[in-house]
Amino acid sequence: MPLYHTEDQTMLADTARQFMADEGAISKQLRHWRDSGCKDGFGHDLWKSLAELGFTGILVGEEDGGLGMGHVEAGIVLEEIGRNLTPSPFLTSAVAAATALGAGSKDLKGRYLPGLLSGDSVFAVAIDEGRKHRPERIATRAERSGNGFRLNGSKTFVIHGGSADMLVVAARTAGGDEDADGVTLFAVPKDASGLSQDAVKLVDSSIATHVRLDNVQLDADAVIGEVDGGRVILDRVLNAGRVGAAAESVGVAGGAFDMTTTYLKQRKQFGKLIGEFQALQHRAAHLYSEIEIARAATIKAQQLLDAGSEKAELMVSVAKAKAGQAAGLAVREGVQMHGGIGMTDEYDIGLYMKRDRALAEFMGDHYYHAQRVAQLSGY
C-alpha cells in the first residue's frame, strides 16, 4: 500500500481539517474551557459534533453501527485535533476504549457502543499505576467474588477519568505483578461502589484522575474478552493509543511549526525579518525534515496496524518515539523563536508546548519507546 492517503482518506482529511480549524479552534475550545474552569476540560457539544460526523465510530465495526475504518483514518482526525489543540475524549474513548470494546462480548458492545456513536458517552482507560508508563507491570488485583470479581488497587494518569461513564481497567486475575499472562480487562461503570477518583488538572489543562479501586464489586459480564486473557487486548489498546498519540503529536508539531514559520515571516529584528537569518532558516529546515519523517513513520505504523502485520508493534514504538521527539523539538524551537512573547499566556505557542508535554508522556515517552525498539529488535 502506498504511504500516502487514498482519495477517500484525503476527503476525510479535508473534512476533519476544516471542522477542527473552525469548531475546534484554540479560542473556541481549549481557551474557552480552560478559562471557564470546566471540570471536564473539554466541551460535550464538540464531542457530539464529532459523533455526528461519524468520527467517534471510525474504529467501531460496521456490524456494530460504526464506520469500520482503521488507524489511518483515526490518525487523520487526531492529526487535526493535534494541530488545533482541540480538547476532546477522542483518543481515550473513540480510539483506546473503542479498541478494547471491540474485543468485548455482544452484550458489552450493546451496553457501551451506542453512547460512543452518539457522542453521549465518554470513556477512559486506566492502565498506568505509577508516574511512568509501564504496562508490563500490572499490580491491581481482581479476585473472583460471588458471580463476578472484586477489584483492589490504584491507577494513575487516567485522562478524562472523572468525565467518563466507563473506565477500561487492566487488572491482574492471576500471576505476579510482572507476568505477561494473568491480566484481565474490565469495563468499570463510573458509579461502581468502591471506585473513587481524585481529579487533577494537568499542565495542558486536561483533567486526569488518580483512581482508587477499593473492593470494587463487578459482575462477570464486566469482563472484556477472556479472563486471564487480557494481555492481548491490552496490547491492542496500547498499539491503538500509541499510534493515535503519535498522530496527534504530528499535528501538534505541524501546528507549532506553521505558527512559527508564519512568525518568522512577520517579525522584524535588527531591521530584518527574523526569517532572513540563516541560523534560524537552517533550524527551521531541519525541523521541517524531522516532522516530515515523523509523519511518514506514523502513517507506516497505522498501515501496518490496519494490515495486522507482525511488524506493527515495532513501528508503533518508532512512530510514538519519533513523533514525540519531533513535536518536542517543534514546540521548543517555536517558543524560542517567538522570543519573549512566546513566554506569555496570550500567545498560543506556549499552549502547544504544554500539550506536547502531556501527550509525550501518554502511553510512553520516547525513552520508553526507544527501549522498546531495542527490545523488539533483540538487543
Binding site: 511512568k132 519573549g340 499566556d345 508546548m353 526507544a370
Partner: protein, 387 residues
C-alpha cells in the same frame, strides 16, 4: 590574631546578637524574600527588624562605600561577611534590582549627589526599583526602542511603553532607557530615573505560560522627568545599559549550573526508581555536561576575580548555562512522568515542576537571547567576518 580574624569575630558576635532566629531559616518561597520599598508589607516583625539592623550598619550592601549607605568592606571582608551569614543560614536582609543592577551602574556612572541620594535609599530598602529596557516590538534589538523623551528645557516629557519590566506593579522607581535624539540610533538613547507614581505611568501585569506574572507592560503618557534624573551623559545611555547587561548576563549565567552541582541522575533516582535505561543514559550524559559546566563556572569566576578571561566570555556562560538549565528541566519532567504534569495539586506543590520547567524557557530569551549570545561570541571572540 590577624585583622581579618578580628573582623570575623566581630561579625560573628554581631550576627549572633542581631540576626533573629526566624531569619536563620532557609527561604522557602517568594514570600520570604524582603524586597523593601514604600509599600512593602513585612511578613513578620523579625523580617523588619533584620532589615533595619542591617541597614543601620550598611550590611545590606556590605561592599558599598559608607558614604552611600554601605559598610565599606574590602573584598576580603565582604567574603568574611558572606561566610558568616552562610554559617548561620542567615537570609539576605534585602533583595532588590537596586542592589543588583542600578547600584553598580550608579557607582560607575552616577554623580556624587546621585550616589548619596539613590544608593542610600537602596541600601536602606526605602525604594524598590524596576528596569525599563525592552519595548513591545524591540525584543533582542534594544537600539530600535521608541519610547521618547521630548526636551522641555529643565525636564523631559516621556511617552511610550516598556515590556518585561519585572515587578513594575510593585516598584517605586524605574531606571529606563529613553530615546532623547531621534536622529541617532545608537547615540540617541539616555538612561533616566523616575518615580513610578509620576502622573501618566501605568502598569499591566503579563500572564506567563508558567501561570505567574512577574513581568509587566508599562505605559508612559506625558510623564515629566526632571533633567537631573539622568545617569551618565545625555544620549550615552547605551553605555550604561551595556554595562548593566554584562552584569545581568553574568548573574543569569551563574544560575545555569554553578549552584546546582549535584548529579541530576542521582536526584531524580532518589525521587523515583529510574527504571528506564534510555532515560538513565540521557541523565548520565546530562550529568557529564552539567558537572563539566560547573567546572567552567568555577574557572570563569576565578578568572573574573583576577581580570583574566575574554571580556565577552559572560555571553558564552549565559548561552551554555541557560541551554543547560532548559535541558535539566526537560529531564526533570521526563523523570517525573505523569506526576510532574500536575498543575495545581497539593502533591505536586502547586505544579512546581511543570511551572519551573516552563519558567526555564525564558532563560535563553531574557537578558539576551541565545541567538544574540552566539552572534556576540562569533563577533567578539571568534572575530568571524560580518558577525
Amino acid at each position: 590574631m590577624s585583622d581579618l580574624e578580628n573582623f570575623r569575630q566581630e561579625i560573628r558576635a554581631w550576627l549572633e546578637e542581631n540576626c533573629p532566629a526566624e531569619m536563620r531559616q532557609p527561604v522557602r518561597d517568594e514570600d520570604d524574600v524582603c524586597w523593601g520599598g514604600r509599600h512593602f508589607e513585612f511578613k513578620s516583625e523579625a523580617q523588619k527588624a533584620w532589615l533595619e539592623r542591617c541597614a543601620a550598619r550598611g550590611y545590606t550592601v556590605p561592599d558599598w562605600p559608607k558614604a552611600y549607605g554601605g559598610a565599606g568592606m574590602s573584598a576580603a571582608e565582604a567574603k568574611v561577611w558572606r561566610d558568616e551569614m552562610a554559617r548561620i543560614n542567615a537570609r539576605p536582609p534585602l533583595s532588590s534590582f537596586g542592589i543588583w543592577m542600578l547600584g553598580p551602574a550608579l557607582l560607575k556612572f552616577g554623580t556624587e549627589e546621585q550616589k548619596v541620594h539613590y544608593l542610600g535609599q537602596i541600601a536602606r530598602g526605602e525604594i524598590r526599583w524596576c528596569q525599563g529596557y525592552s519595548e513591545p516590538g524591540s525584543g533582542s534589538d534594544l537600539v530600535s526602542l521608541q519610547t521618547y523623551g521630548e526636551d522641555k528645557g529643565d525636564h523631559w516629557v516621556v511617552n511610550g511603553s516598556k515590556i518585561w519590566t519585572s515587578y513594575a506593579n510593585k516598584a517605586d522607581w524605574i531606571f529606563c532607557l529613553v530615546r532623547t535624539d531621534k536622529a541617532n540610533k545608537y547615540q540617541g538613547i539616555s538612561f533616566l530615573l523616575f518615580d513610578m507614581e509620576s502622573p501618566g505611568v501605568s502598569t499591566k501585569p503579563i500572564l506567563l505560560i508558567s501561570g505567574n506574572s512577574p513581568f509587566c507592560e508599562t505605559f508612559f503618557d506625558n510623564v515629566i522627568v526632571p533633567k537631573d534624573q539622568i545617569v551618565g551623559e545625555l544620549n550615552r545611555g547605551w553605555d550604561v545599559a551595556k554595562y548593566l547587561l554584562g552584569h545581568e548576563r553574568e548573574m543569569i549565567s551563574s544560575t545555569g549550573g554553578g549552584d546546582r552541582a549535584g548529579s541530576l541522575g542521582a536526584a531524580v533516582s532518589r525521587a523515583a526508581a529510574l527504571e528506564d535505561p534510555v532515560l538513565r543514559a540521557e541523565l548520565a550524559l546530562f550529568d557529564v555536561d552539567a558537572l563539566a559546566f560547573t567546572a567552567m563556572s568555577e574557572k570563569f569566576m576565578d578568572e573574573v576575580k583576577v581580570g583574566r578571561g575574554h571580556p565577552a566570555q559572560p555571553n558564552m556562560m549565559k548561552y551554555a548555562g541557560t541551554e543547560l538549565n532548559k535541558r535539566r528541566l526537560e529531564l526533570v519532567m521526563a523523570a517525573g512522568g505523569s506526576a510532574a504534569l500536575e498543575w495545581d495539586s497539593e502533591a505536586s506543590g502547586g505544579g512546581s515542576n511543570a511551572r519551573n520547567w516552563l519558567r526555564t524557557k525564558a532563560n535563553s530569551i531574557e537578558g539576551g537571547t541565545s541567538e544574540v549570545m552566539l552572534n556576540v561570541i562569533s563577533k567578539r571572540i571568534l572575530d568571524l567576518p560580518g558577525a
